[in-house]
Every structure is written in C-alpha cells, then in structure tokens.
C-alpha cells in the first residue's frame, strides 16, 4: 500500500488572496497516478508570511516541508518528488 502524502495549504488571508485558493483545489488537478494518495487540507495562517526569509506567499507544506510561492504546478511537482522518494524508500 502506497504511503499517503499530506498537503497542507495555508488559508491565512494573505496566502488565500495571493492565489492560495487555487491550491485548495489541488485534489481535482492531480494527475491520475497521484490522485487517491494525497490528502489536501487547509489550515489557518501557518505564520510563514511573518518570516521575511521564508519566501513568497502563498505557502503550502508537503509532508511538513514548506513550499514558498506555491502554484498548482509547483505543488504537483513537490508531491511527485515526495511520492518518488517514498516509493524508493519502500523498495530499499
């Protein structure tokens, strides 16, 4: 059984206004092979926007790893890398 991947989208007002709303709909936009193993949740402000070193808004996390300036496509890429890393780990 594939390990599930948890995507956390920051739902703070700043992230939401700067495009985070699209990230919440990631579930519908995932390619078929990733669909079904990803849980997408929104969370109240993750506080990253207050950290000037964290990068651009909107923020999301893939299994706890922060992705700054997230777009649907960069988030899909991050989910894919994570899935590949998990699969390699499962084989090893």
């Amino acid at each position: 059984m594939d390990k599930r991947i948890r995507v956390t989208v920051c739902c703070g007002t700043a992230c939401y206004v700067l495009g985070g709303s699209d990230l919440l709909d990631l579930g519908e936009k995932l390619p078929a092979d990733l669909r079904g193993r990803v849980d997408v949740d929104g969370e109240p402000c993750l506080g990253l926007c207050k950290d000037s070193k964290a990068g651009a808004r909107p923020f999301a996390k893939v299994d706890g790893v922060v992705l700054a300036g997230a777009t649907v496509s960069s988030l899909i890429d991050a989910v894919r890398s994570r899935a590949e890393a998990l699969d390699r780990g499962a084989l090893a």
Binding site: C11, T13, A14, Y16, V17, G19, S21, D22, P44, C45
Partner: protein, 502 residues
C-alpha cells in the same frame, strides 16, 4: 483566464502595498518622502524589482517603470492624464488623499498603461514556415474568397481575407495560425483598438466597462482606476476624528453576495472583518436583491397582463450600458427596477443618512452605476477588499463572527450566479395573485460575441420569452472581472452561503 495568474498576483501585491501605506500614514499629514506612511509608496517599485532580481520584461528598469504606472492607477489616476513623468508616487498618493477629502471620484473607470501594452500583432491568420506547399492545397480550395496564393509557401492576401479561419482548419500540417489580440477579442462592443503605433486605446463612447479587456490582457496593461485610496483616506479620517472626540463621518459598506462568495468563511466573518477595517456598519447587497426581485416580479406581472413583450433584467450595469450605447431597440424592454446595489444603498442611507456608502463588488461597471445613482460614494472590488484585509492583518478564520442583518434570504443571495436573478424573480412572481403559473425565462450567460448575437435575436423579436436575464460575465457576477477565486470555487462557496440562509 484563470483568476490567479502572475498578472493578477502582481496587481494584488501592489494593492496590498498601497493599502499598507495608507493605513500607516501618520496621524498628521505626511510629507513627501517621509519613511512611514505615504512616502513608502516610492519604494515599492524597488522593493518588488530589486537590482539583483531577474526581470520579467527586458530589464528591471522597465519592470519598475510599469509598476509605477500600475500604482498610479491603483491610487486612482488615469495613465492618460499624466502630465509630468517626474512626479513622485508619494506626491500622487498625497493628491489621492486630498481628492478623498473633497469627495470626488470620476470616470472613465479603466485606464491603459501604454508602457505595458505589448502592441500585439494585428489580429489575423498567418501562414507559418510549417507550410509544405502541398499538392492537395486544401487551404486554397477551402478559402471562400480566393485569398490564398502558393509560391514555395502559401500566403494570404489580407485585402481579400475575411478572417473566417477555414484555411487554418483545413491545413493538415497546422501551418496556419490565428494571431489574436486578447483585449480586442474579449471586448463585446469593439471599444478597444490600436493607434498608429500599435498601442491599444479604449473608446469610452463605446465602452460598457465590462472589464473583459482587463481580465484577458496577458500583460496586465489595462487597469481599473481604483477608489481604494479614497476609501482608505476616509476610513483614516474617521478614525482620527473618533480619537479626537469629534463626530466622524462614518463609512458604511454594502457588499455583494459575489464578494461574500470569494471567501470560504461565510457571512458572519465577512461582517466582522468589515468592522475591523473601520466600517461603521455593513449591509448585504443581497438584501437589496430581495427588493429588486420583488419589484421586477411586480413589473413583469403587469407586462404579462398588458402583453408588452419580453422584459429583461436590469441589474447588470455592463448590460444596461450595452443597451444604452449599442442596442437602443431593447431599451423599452429593460425593467425599470433599480439594481440590488441601489436598494441596499437606500437601506444603508435610511439608517445612516450622513454616511459615505461604499459598495464592494466584483465589477468594474458598478463604478459608473454608483456615480450615476447619487447614492453610492465609492466602489471597491474583491481584490481591493482582499488587499485591505491582508494589509490590516485581519485573519478571517480567527476573527469572531457577527450575524448579518436579517434582511436577505436565498433568493437575494442567489443573484450572482447565472440563472440566479431569473430564478429569484420567478420565485417572487409565483406568489403574486394571478401569477401562480409563473412565466417562461431565458438567460444570456455572458456578453461575449456569441452572447451579443443571441441578445440581438431577442432584440429583433426572433427569439421570444417572458423574462430574459442578462449578465455580462459568463457564469454571473461570481465570475466578474475583479475577483479573487475561480468561478467554480466561488459557486461552491456561494452555495454554502445560500444553504445557511433562511
């Protein structure tokens, strides 16, 4: 275009900077160049495009120059009116503040940044190098105007070409492409066109302020002349008066259901966040929509009785302008009922006669309607509201909600999605005496070229119905030109709001 793209994102980031500068404006009037407050605006082009950053256009200097013009529009100035290029942004911000105190914000409501305009190649069909000059020559044979000649490669005689696109469809090598000019293609009334140098200009005698050019321009060259600085200045003045114990001039927000649908947190959180921004009170425009639907139902029942033909809705100001400027034959069929904004403003004015009324919607054309109504002082759009919330650090999720006034129900809140107005009017109609059987209704869902053609059929009497709902934006106001989220999400969030209605 997707509501979230790099152009809309830049626009929102800049609005946030403008909002922040006005919110941080020191109590006493800020002098040009002061570090805090309005003086901060001068730094924005450098903050967004610092020297080391990769440029979006040819160089960061051009990027900065265009950001300066974007900020001008967001401070409420038309780019076309600029007389002195060396005037600083903070000086413009100061002028915006003075304008706010004198209470004027006038049209036109869109402005074109000629520096940002890409001067797209003129719209036409073009043969590319993929052309194989084949034996079959389907492009030539399918062209109804004999506009194609082949010598080594096909070429199109522009004098003869009527832009039907049949050659492009016929070519098996996909060698013929359509060059499009997105703003011109989006405009339903041919109000935007190139000058000799290829830059686009809006003809305001034709423009209906639908905002489609602004949404579709991939370079973000068309911008709204914002009234946010005016609202923020007045909010600051009200706060200042309050602090000094003088009676402040209150600001009251009336917010469209399409704007409420931009957020997932529901009406109570929006009500509370408007108060947190400094508005004295807030009204749902959906409350006005209940009145519009009731009055339109009454008007329709009279028309049905008199047999005076189809009645169209009147709440979409871009549609109403389209009739006024381009389809005068339809004028007598437009309902004489006012829009939800109008009635909501009346409700607000009745409770707060001295207040400045601020409409918050997803729409450009409402700015013109607001000005003509004499009831609404300023118009904000959903992006501006979003930017103000971010600048003020208001978290919708954690704010303590407060219930909206019990004035609106499902019918009124359903107005901003396509079919919603017709449904509300029909719902009110069936409870009128003698109208139990309701009426026939149709929708023109979006004034694109197809929608315009359909509307003309109704105007000519070739298509018939009792009630015709017309919305300039496909999908309704939730898909307006100045929104934060994509229509699908907005519709789901609107459905949630409606579900929680009585």
């Amino acid at each position: 275009m997707n509501a979230n793209n790099d152009a809309s994102r830049l626009r929102r980031e800049l609005l946030e900077e403008v909002a922040r500068a006005f919110m941080r404006d020191p109590e006493e009037s800020s002098t040009e160049g002061s570090a805090k407050g309005l003086g901060e605006i001068d730094r924005v082009p450098f903050k967004l495009f610092p020297r080391a950053q990769k440029s979006v256009r040819c160089c960061i200097y051009r990027d900065r120059a265009i950001v300066r013009y974007r900020l001008l529009a967001q401070l409420g100035f038309a780019i076309e009116d600029e007389v002195d290029e060396s005037t600083s942004l903070s000086a413009y911000a100061q002028r915006a503040k003075e304008r706010a105190a004198s209470g004027t914000a006038s049209g036109p409501y869109l402005t074109v940044i000629d520096e940002a305009c890409n001067s797209c190649l003129r719209a036409r069909y073009m043969v590319t190098n993929l052309c194989q000059a084949c034996l079959a020559r389907p492009c030539m044979r399918n062209c109804p105007k004999q506009a194609i000649a082949i010598e080594h490669k096909a070429s199109i005689d522009e004098e003869k070409c009527v832009n039907c696109g049949l050659c492009m469809q016929a070519c098996p090598y996909h060698a013929i492409v359509k060059l499009s000019v997105p703003c011109e293609e989006a405009c339903p009334v041919d109000a935007i066109a190139k000058d000799e140098s290829g830059k686009e200009h809006i003809d305001y005698a034709k423009c209906v302020h639908c905002g489609k050019c602004m949404v579709e321009c991939p370079f973000g060259a068309i911008m709204e002349k914002s009234q946010m600085a005016d609202v923020l200045s007045n909010l600051a003045a009200a706060r200042k008066a309050g602090r000094k114990g003088r009676a402040p001039k209150p600001l009251v927000a009336i917010y469209a259901p399409a704007v409420a649908a931009q957020f997932s947190e529901g009406l109570p959180k929006i009500e509370a966040s408007l108060r947190a921004l400094g508005f004295t009170d807030a009204y749902e425009v959906a409350a006005g929509a209940e009145i519009t639907a009731q009055k339109e139902a009454e008007e329709l029942s009279m028309r049905l009785e008199n047999g005076s033909g189809l009645m169209t809705t009147s709440c979409c100001p871009a549609y109403y302008e389209t009739v006024r400027k381009h389809l005068p034959a339809l004028a007598s069929q437009v309902s004489s009922t006012h829009s939800p904004m109008y009635y909501a403003a009346e409700l607000a004015k009745a409770d707060h006669p001295d207040a400045l009324i601020v409409f918050i919607g997803p729409c450009v054309a409402k700015k013109k309607e607001a000005r003509e109504s004499g009831l609404v002082d300023y118009v904000l759009n959903a992006e501006e509201l979003g930017a103000m919330l971010v600048a003020a650090g208001i978290e919708l999720i954690s704010i303590q909600g407060m219930a909206p006034k019990p004035l609106a129900g499902k019918d009124g809140r359903g107005f901003p999605s396509s079919g919603g107005v017709a449904a509300a009017v029909r719902s009110k109609l069936t409870s009128l005496p003698g109208c139990e059987y309701g009426c026939a209704s149709e929708c023109v869902n979006g004034l694109d070229k197809k929608g315009m053609a359909r509307l003309k059929l109704f105007a000519a009497g070739k298509l018939k119905t009792d009630l015709l709902e017309v919305m300039a934006c496909e999908g309704g106001c939730i898909a307006g030109p100045a929104v934060l989220v994509n229509p699908k999400r907005a519709l789901a969030q609107l459905d949630n709001i409606i579900k929680n209605s009585d």
